[in-house]
């Protein structure tokens, strides 16, 4: 069943059809390469191969996907169709602007919608993912500081942060200092104060954070960082918990990145492509990557390449345009009211699910959450079980596992984000499964340790795969 496409190859089979060459040949003056080793398979066999492969995947369209901080919401079908329209998919980025007016208009308006939603001034669409946005945002802050002659090279990052935050900071040549979380799961103000200094360029914050908690002290955090001469970076991974309720820009954030593949419904594609547009307050606009999308007084849209203070480019052309198109379609479908309702339902679903699970799993931070929450499986250590065992057993119940072992500050973390596109009935079924698993853990731990039992493959030996990596056929 798990035959590779190469193992289905047989000389003489073809899966393509091209017109015959209709011009005279020019013999190449160089030595043409020998056989590459590409598979030779007919079209029906290719179709069956990949269709069968697809059926070994779990997906949002086939089941509940409560991955914390990943926002696995429903991906609207019309958006997929719109992105396939030849009027967009068959545009070349080097076409004259006069032939691109619709695409530029779309980006122009999407930029303004995102600015309105987040309380920022301008956006760039060049970053291709959230982590790419972080890098871009920090480079913008660095350019801003450098121009002011400020020698700042330290980025503060809470201990609950995603690993991309410190990795991105390192790429901008900055050193990283970790800030502790307090008892309520927010930034520890005393620890923050002790780590602020004139060297601090920025604090990177996810709010709500990876515990799903809104930092109630955000205005104080913002005041402290700004007083120390630093700027505030907003990691938009969790915007789905506050969209329409509070704008990062209004709570003091100077730079934000958004994940269009999370809050704004573009699909994850099994790991990409996503899009991580970055928005900034007015003072940082001059540094945005080139080109920006502008409109002239006659209403014509054009690309502005002449931006002397720009940090340059972080990706070729205008980023993942077709992903931006899906986000645009989503925002117009939801409208302002709908986006607020989206957040309400996401937060209500999370709190309801938390309510159903309270008492069955350890809850390290018991307060109102936003769109996600974190449980701990550490009491199951008693039965020699790890969080992975709980996750794998969930697969047997037909659910995808939550994000596990993250954030690092909670031992054996299960980070659960239901999103707004799940029904009450689904949440209840999921809660029943998790409660049942907790019982199994106590009565029959082997069942968890050997899980999953009814998936396309059984538990995978990752140790062997890593000791002797085989990366190709």
């Amino acid at each position: 069943m798990s035959e590779l496409i190469f193992e289905k190859s047989k000389k003489g089979k073809t899966g393509f059809s091209l017109p015959e060459l209709d011009v005279p040949q020019t013999p190449p003056p160089f030595e043409v390469r020998q056989e590459i080793g590409l598979p030779e398979v007919s079209e029906p066999e290719v179709v069956r191969h990949f269709t069968l492969l697809s059926q070994k995947n779990y997906s949002v369209d086939t089941g509940f996907y409560p991955l914390g901080s990943c926002t696995m919401k429903y991906n609207p079908k019309i958006n997929e169709d719109l992105a396939r329209m030849k009027e967009f998919a068959l545009l070349h980025p080097e076409q004259p602007e006069g032939t691109l007016q619709g695409a530029l208009e779309l980006l122009y308006h999407l930029e303004r919608y995102l600015a309105e939603i987040t309380g920022m001034s301008r956006f760039t669409f060049q970053p291709a993912a959230g982590a790419h946005g972080e890098l871009t945002g920090l480079l913008l802050i660095r350019a801003y500081m450098d121009e002011r002659g400020e020698k700042k090279d330290t980025v503060l990052i809470p201990d609950s942060a995603h690993g991309t935050n410190p990795a991105s900071a390192a790429l901008t040549g900055c050193q990283v200092i970790e800030v502790k979380s307090d008892q309520r799961g927010g930034v520890d103000l005393e620890d923050l104060k002790s780590k602020l200094s004139p060297k601090v360029m920025a604090l990177m914050l996810t709010n709500p954070n990876t515990l799903g908690l809104f930092d109630e002290n955000i205005l104080e955090v913002s005041r402290l960082v700004h007083e120390a001469g630093g700027l505030l970076y907003y990691d938009g991974a969790n915007l789905n918990g506050i969209c329409g309720y509070v704008r990062p820009g209004d709570t003091g954030f100077d730079v934000v990145h958004l994940n269009l593949h999370k809050t704004f419904s573009a699909p994850h594609g099994g790991g990409g492509p996503g899009a991580g547009p970055v928005g900034v307050k007015e003072a940082l606009v001059p540094y945005l990557p080139v080109p920006t999308v502008e409109r002239n007084p006659e209403g014509k849209f054009y690309l502005q390449w002449e931006r002397p203070k720009s940090i340059g480019m972080v990706r070729s052309f205008l980023g993942n345009f077709l992903v931006a198109l899906k986000a645009y379609a989503y925002i117009l479908t939801m409208g302002g009211e709908g986006l607020k309702r989206m957040t309400e339902d996401a937060v209500l679903n999370a709190n309801y699910l938390l309510h159903l699970l309270r008492g069955h799993y350890q809850l390290p931070y018991d307060r109102i959450c936003k769109h996600e929450f974190v449980l701990s499986t550490s009491p199951l250590k008693e039965y020699n079980l790890k969080v992975t065992d709980v996750a794998k057993r969930l697969l047997d119940y037909g659910f995808h596992a939550p994000t596990i072992a993250f954030p690092l500050i909670v031992e054996g973390a299960l980070m659960i984000e239901p999103t707004e596109t799940e029904s009450k009935e689904t949440l209840e079924a999921f809660a029943r499964a998790l409660i049942q698993i907790e019982e199994e853990a106590r009565t029959n731990p082997e069942l968890l340790r050997e899980a999953p039992h009814n998936t396309p493959v059984r538990r995978i030996d990752e140790v062997a795969a890593n000791r002797n990596p085989i990366l190709k056929k």
């Binding site: 030849k86 492509p273 309702r341 995808h400």
Partner: protein, 447 residues
């Protein structure tokens, strides 16, 4: 709202179980003084949305309507219909990163097959699961070379895609790198003699380069290796790998390029596919996600993410890169495309690109006042020098529904009268003849 399954009764019941009367109570942790103003975005029904986007689309002129000779990093190639159908399966595109391997074997096996294909195409030992695009892949390759060699000087060709150059400069601007740009020769190749005496971490060449010209790859590799640096081979037209010798056989240490040509539509420049491959000895220094073969508890072959200790979620600021995703769906498209085209089909595409580009260049060269700017051999792109700056000619072509090429002066101020012309297999001979005819006509009108 059709995407939201909760009914009003559900909401009420759920709130009641939380001891709440209003959903507002769930947001009591947000300071009242920073509550968002009501967003002024009007919602559209599904038919209204469709109409609106179609109207926007009508303001574009796409490559189905226009005959395009644009390339320069993004290429129009024929894409078999099965690519759309298969990559459009919801099980692929609505899945997440394959963290739970047991229920992600579809994505995992596909990426494993993709990595195998990249290794075959490039002649390299190991490949990753893909990067954002060719430009960022080159920047990551530069960072990797610096980390392997511990050297700060980096040489790259001025004929590397100008946007790749810009991304490279942006990525490295705070890392204390000494970037050295090598000029091009009269043939349009990188001038290797211009390489100064320095301890270079690497030399980056694109082949074919931005002008379409084939670089002296083996020579470049020898020169940089003699100095103890790595050789980074980049490309923006992946179809060239169907005809040119594999970079691995010419001494490349890292291959970083753009795979958009392999079954991905031009898409206004994105999404694309950053291809990345290297030698086995550098495997643990490679950025990005990597899939490996494994066995499950019953001994069945399976696939799983491996070597994750290189990555940001474990190594944080010490990671090889901050990248946390790949372009999985684009990699899948490339895999399906190459599976369908197979050895013969992919070779045929590469040959057609080559022969059609040469047929066109020969015909254009015969027009008085028009010449090829560079004498170097090329694959499917070439630089044409016109008798004057190209705007007039390109506008004339556009009136005839033709996109004639990329005027180069926006990237290279010295190339005022030059246009980059790209030919792929999508053009029947009559398109090529028409372009020749129109250039003659325009040329005649100049007098």
């Amino acid at each position: 709202m059709r995407y939201l399954p909760l009914t009003d009764a559900d909401r009420k019941e759920m709130l009641a179980s939380l001891g709440m009367e209003s959903v507002e109570e769930l947001f009591s942790d947000i300071p009242p003084e920073v509550r968002s103003p009501a967003l002024q975005i009007t919602s559209l029904s599904e038919p209204e949305l469709e109409k609106h986007i179609k109207e926007l689309g009508e303001k574009n002129r796409d490559l189905a309507e226009l005959q395009s000779f644009l390339g320069g990093g993004i290429y129009q190639h024929f894409i078999p219909h099965a690519v759309d159908h298969l990559s459009g399966r919801v099980e692929f595109y609505t899945a997440y990163t394959p963290y739970q391997a047991e229920v992600s074997q579809g994505t995992l096996q596909a990426i494993f097959e993709y990595q195998t294909l990249v290794s075959l195409l490039t002649g390299m030992e190991v490949a990753n699961a893909s990067m954002y695009d060719g430009a960022s892949a080159v920047a990551e390759a530069a960072l990797m070379a610096r980390s392997i060699t511990g050297r700060k000087a980096l040489a790259y060709s001025a004929a590397l895609h100008p946007q790749y150059q810009r991304v490279l400069r942006t990525y490295t601007q705070h890392l204390g790198l000494d970037l050295v740009e090598l000029p091009w020769t009269e043939k349009g190749q990188t001038d290797l003699d211009a390489l100064p005496e320095k301890d270079f971490s690497a030399l980056i060449l694109q082949n074919p380069n931005y002008f379409g010209v084939l670089e002296p790859v083996a020579e470049a590799s020898r020169v940089i290796h003699e100095r103890g640096g790595l050789f980074i081979y980049s490309f923006s037209e992946a179809v060239s790998l169907g005809l040119l010798p594999p970079p691995g056989s010419l001494g490349a240490d890292i291959v970083a390029g753009e795979g958009q040509s392999l079954g991905i539509p031009p898409s206004f420049g994105g999404p694309g596919l950053g291809i990345f491959a290297t030698r086995e000895q550098f495997m643990r220094r490679m950025p990005g996600r990597i899939i490996g073969e494994a066995r499950d508890a019953e001994g069945k072959r399976a696939f799983v993410m491996v070597l994750q200790t290189r990555e940001q979620h474990i190594r944080r600021e010490k990671a090889t890169s901050n990248i946390c995703s790949n372009q999985a769906l684009c990699a899948l498209r490339a895999l399906i495309y190459l599976s369908l085209m197979g050895e013969k089909g992919f070779r045929a595409v590469a040959e057609q690109c080559y022969h059609k580009a040469h047929y066109l260049s020969q015909a254009l060269e015969e027009i008085p006042g028009v010449k090829l700017r560079f004498r170097g051999e090329f694959f499917n792109e070439f630089v044409l020098t016109l008798p004057q700056e190209p705007e007039g000619f390109l506008n004339f072509l556009l009136k005839n529904s033709i996109l004639g090429g990329i005027p180069l002066k926006k990237y290279y101020p010295s190339l005022k009268q030059e246009v980059l012309v790209t030919v792929t297999e999508v053009h029947p001979k009559e398109n090529l003849d028409k372009l020749v005819h129109l250039l003659k006509e325009w040329r005649g009108g100049l007098k």
